[in-house]
Symmetry: C2
């Protein structure tokens, strides 16, 4: 089975083309920065942490293929980061790799950038594994879990965040089934999570986003767990559109709702959810998918990328450093203080 | 513009082929019972009350084209009702028309069955109009409304139930916008309601089912209104999957949630929602649409046709005889007592 992301040092990056999933598992060998940018722009590779990894690897590719002088590396950094300007991890990891390289003499840059990318991949893997272990400790009672969107290896390059927790609980024998929403409009649940869950050998059940209330009311689910794109200092969490309503329904039925997110997702300078800007996406994503249009031409659409789940609906936030419990202000402040002194 | 449903007495039925909406408005002339059954089975015509009308008209078609003897009419009734055995209105209206015809001498049956179908269509139209008027009185404060699934002329043959209320509020100048969910898995909102709302000249905004919580939290909506497939004696209401979660989210944000349903939908012998059987539909409807498959082969799906909204989440039930308020037991019992003596 092709790897989701693989470094071939001094030579290339291999990625699994995510646009062909779940129907075809095709590895794509990327040897030039231009091809990497095309792969990022067309979503062959996606997911915030995985894009960060791709960005760091892209800087190694630029040095190996195009030249190690400052000008070449700076142009490559601008080009890679510019493919998806709203992808924070991508820009951050590209600038980090650039700054790292510029401090070194030119002859060392190629090898150092490949090592830098390889270390980042090891760190990502270790971070996901640590988070998944802490999360699995919340799921010691046997039962089924509901998740939303895609938070597995296809998104992070490691075992995943929320899906990493689910996979770890399956390994420990405490998970009986993973329920997954389709996740309209981009259908990451139907396309990607369903593929990852089957690949992991976990009994998986897909549901329309409309059926989550019915499922929670039925008592079939003992926990809901999702990732987060950004967590405010008070615990309010922005994540894929539809997360908030799952959290609200879980609360109504006494089912715990967990967020699984690395500390890098937490913004201690953002006081609460009202300060998180919500990107509005192309209305054309609603009322159709791919080539298909189901809705009449000319209909307007409401298509926010994210929604905000208030902290009061979140039972715990699982990070790679441990589990944060309400009130989240204290735990978040402590985690950042510990990290600063670590 | 072709009519949604039109009787051509002694000759044919004309329907709008709903499978081609919203992209093409094609009238189909139906001259034989076999063609009607095909149109019902393939969902060219759908919606519980509209199917009832089609069933009554189909009996007139059978008498006009195939013969007026008891055997021919009984065979036609079995054939039409058998095309969608779970469509209660269809079977009810077919049996009603059959019983009506069997009481008449053979030479009168053709004309009487056409008149019977025409009267049913007038009754449906009057019922929807009365319901819509009562419902619009709940929406006297200017604002936007959110609805789910399809409850317009395409479903009822009249102006509609929930969508009839919305159209009437628009006529009265109190509606500013109609928000509509896509309504996975069959996308009736994206395909049919969006078409009807645009056709009525109402500003319409489509949203993924995932975005309803975000929309309600934003304060943009001042009421949610849907239809119902079956209402129990205590007011618990079964409707299209996804209705319950809209009602729960509306309650969380202090937005009134209304059901619009004719008295024929209320079952005074069903004590509460726990007694309403929920049909499980083909798992293949989840993870794809039409020819498109988004999910991997072999994934299981949870695909209930309906969910149950508990009465405590329903602000009012709008019927053709007036508005029922909580506690619904009393109003429902009174409405049925009045109807029995009317």
């Amino acid at each position: 089975m092709p790897a989701v992301f693989r470094l071939v040092p001094d030579d290339a990056i291999e990625i699994l083309d995510q646009t062909l999933l779940p129907h075809e598992e095709r590895a794509v060998r990327i040897e030039r920065v231009g091809a990497l940018c095309e792969a990022i722009a067309t979503l062959r590779i996606r997911g915030a942490p995985l894009l960060g990894l791709a960005g760091a690897a892209g800087m190694a590719l630029a040095a190996a293929r195009d030249g190690t002088d400052d000008g070449t590396l700076k142009r490559a950094a601008d080009m890679i980061a510019g493919t998806r300007p709203t992808a924070v991890d991508l820009g951050f990891r590209v600038r980090e790799a650039l700054a790292f390289a510029l401090r070194l003499p030119e002859p060392e840059r190629v090898a150092a950038l490949w090592q830098h990318a390889a270390q980042l991949q090891r760190d990502r893997t270790a971070e996901d594994a640590a988070l998944s272990g802490f999360g699995a400790e919340l799921l010691t009672e046997r039962g089924a879990v509901l998740t939303h969107c895609n938070t597995g290896e296809l998104a992070t390059g490691g075992v995943g965040t929320a899906l990493g927790v689910i996979i770890e609980a399956w390994r420990r024998g405490t998970l009986t089934r993973c329920y997954m929403t389709e996740t309209r409009p981009l259908l990451q649940g139907a396309r990607l999570t369903a593929w990852e869950v089957l690949r992991a050998g976990i009994p998986g059940t897909l549901l329309p986003d409309t059926a989550a209330g019915s499922l929670l009311a039925s008592g079939a689910v003992r926990a809901v767990i999702t990732g987060a794109d950004r967590v405010a200092a008070n615990g309010d969490s922005a994540n894929k559109i539809g997360t908030y309503q799952l959290a609200a329904l879980a609360a109504r039925h006494g089912v715990p709702f967990y967020i699984a997110a690395p500390l890098s997702t937490i913004d201690p300078h953002c006081p609460d959810g009202s300060q998180i800007p919500i990107e509005m996406r192309d209305p054309g994503e609603v009322g159709g998918f791919g080539e298909a249009r189901w809705s009449p031409a000319g209909v307007d659409a409401y298509n926010p990328a994210f929604d905000v789940t208030p902290a009061e609906l979140i039972a715990a936030i699982v990070t790679e450093r441990g589990v944060l419990w309400p009130p989240f202000e204290d735990g978040i402040a402590r985690a950042f203080a510990e990290r600063a002194t670590a």
